[in-house]
Symmetry: C2
Subunit: 132 residues, 2 copies
C-alpha cells in the first residue's frame, strides 16, 4: 500500500480498501461492484469516493478503465498490455493474453498520435452457452 504514497496520494482507509479489493482481481468490476464490496468492510464509504479514487488511480496509471461494456465502465488493476472478451449475454469480462501485432500502416491513421490500443472480443461464455 506504500504504492499509494508513491503516487503522491494520501493514504486513506477508503483508498486502501479499494486497492485491496482490486489487487489481483481479474473480474473487471464496475464502480458499483467495487462500492458494494468495499462497503461491506467500510460501510460509510460513498459512491463519490469510489469514483474519485478510480479517476485518480486511472490518471496515475494505477488502473485501467475499460470501455468494453456499453452499460458501465469496468476497472482493471492489471495495467500490463492485454486484451479482453465480454460475454454479450451475462457481461462477464475475461482477459485475453495474446500478443497481437497491431502496428498501423503509416498512411492509415489520418495523423492520429496513438496512445494505446487493445482488442475487444465479443462472445458467449461457457456458462451462458450451456443454458441454451
Amino acid at each position: 500500500m506504500q504504492r499509494i504514497r508513491n503516487m503522491g496520494l494520501r493514504l486513506t482507509p477508503q483508498r486502501i480498501a479499494i486497492l485491496e479489493y482490486l489487487d489481483g482481481n481479474v473480474n473487471h468490476p464496475s464502480a458499483e461492484e467495487i462500492y458494494n464490496a468495499v462497503a461491506k468492510k467500510y460501510p460509510t464509504i460513498s459512491f463519490a469516493t469510489v469514483y474519485n479514487t478510480l479517476e485518480t488511480l486511472k490518471r496515475k496509471k494505477g488502473i485501467l478503465e475499460l470501455t468494453i461494456d456499453p452499460r458501465r465502465r469496468r476497472y482493471d488493476p492489471n495495467t500490463e498490455p492485454h486484451h479482453h472478451i465480454i460475454c454479450v449475454q451475462c457481461r462477464k469480462v475475461a482477459d485475453v493474453h495474446a500478443d497481437f501485432d497491431l502496428r498501423l500502416p503509416e498512411s492509415n491513421v489520418e495523423g492520429f498520435k496513438v496512445l494505446s490500443k487493445q482488442v475487444e472480443f465479443y462472445g458467449i461464455c461457457p456458462e451462458c452457452d450451456n443454458q441454451n
Copy 2:
C-alpha cells in the same frame, strides 16, 4: 431505401431520414447527433424513435453499435469488419482499415465462443494535437 423493406420493416419517413443521415456517414455519430440531424428535416421525430430504429437496425445487422466512447454509444453504418481510433480529447472516432490477424490461441479464451472482434486505438487527433 428498399433495404428497409427487405429487412421486413415498415418504410416510415423517420426510418428513411435516419438511414439517409447514416448512409455513407463516417463520423460514427451518437444517438443525440442522429436525433439533432434528423430533427432538422423532420422536427416531430422523437428520441425514442431514434433509439428504437437504431436498436432494430442493429439487430438486423444493418448498422454497428460501437462501444469505443465511454460516454455514449456510437453508430456506424459500415458493417464491414474494420477498426477504430478515438481521440481521447475531442472524442472524434475515425476508421482504421487494416487487416490484423486476431486469431486466438485455442487455450486462451477460457471456452468463450467468439462472435466478433475489433481493435480499438486511443490517441490524439491532428486538430487536438495542434492546440497543444
